[in-house]
């Protein structure tokens, strides 16, 4: 019962915060609501018994991405203009609505093969085995640092002041 209540609280918080992000005119308030949305997603991860992912969600999204977004808002000084909708407001609403409706109908009409085994109480050691064992995901784990290094170098080159 507690899980049901928690799910609905998180679901309402996430959807409300996401609606605020796309509907509010003030960019800074949208960024604060984005943080609320990420925290709600972390709560959903805990309900899905993914504790390590919930911690990573808070560390990476709330800790790093939200700070980056707020810094970018402050550096670009667009607060006075805000975020108005463009002339594609109605077509975008129709496309997004149809897309969501299609996915929801597909989900409801599909018979999923539900497995009722109880998951392990903690996932950290299981994830470590999955990521670093020989027949696990060791190659993608090796590729990710390369991607992140390229990202850091690319961001530094893009940001660098070329006038000097």
């Amino acid at each position: 019962m507690g899980q049901v209540i928690a799910f609905w609280i998180f679901a309402v918080a996430i959807v409300g915060a996401a609606l605020g992000v796309v509907l509010l005119e003030n960019v800074f308030r949208a960024a604060i609501l984005l943080i609320t949305c990420f925290l709600g997603v972390a709560g959903i991860f805990i309900l899905l018994s993914a504790d390590f992912l919930a911690a990573m969600q808070i560390l990476i999204y709330v800790g790093a991405i939200a700070i980056l977004v707020i810094l970018a808002i402050m550096l670009t000084r667009e607060l006075s203009i805000g975020s108005p909708s463009n002339k594609f407001k109605i077509p975008a609403l129709i496309i997004a609505g149809l897309f969501g409706l299609g996915i929801i109908l597909t989900v409801i009409n599909t018979k999923w093969l539900i497995n009722t085994t109880t998951p392990a109480p903690t996932t950290t050691s299981g994830l470590a085995v999955k990521l670093f064992s020989k027949d696990g995901f060791i190659l993608p784990v090796e590729i990710i640092p390369t991607v992140l290094l390229a990202t850091i170098l690319g961001a530094i080159v893009l940001i660098k002041d070329k006038k000097k």
Binding site: F7, Y61, T76, W112, N115, T123, L127
Partner: protein
Amino acid sequence: MTIGLNNYLILSAILFSIGLYGALAKHNAIVILMSIEIMLSATNIAFVAFSRFITPTDLTGQVFALFAMAIAAAETAVGLAIIIAIYRNKETIDANKIDLMKW
């Protein structure tokens, strides 16, 4: 009433639709990037929900969600760097006015 796979998948679909609307209908490039982050979070919820309800003992879905998070962080860093570079050159981040490659 219990919370099953369908509840999580419908939440994920609603969140993805909201992000899609934001990415299509907004002027401000930073808000478009925030909408893309919302869409990536929605896919992460779907990954973890499938992992929890279809293969509870196998953590493959959570591994994919971890990789999606790493790529999302990289994407945000480069995207914001591009936005700041454009702001330096054009004094605007209005996506409708960034039309250098449009003919």
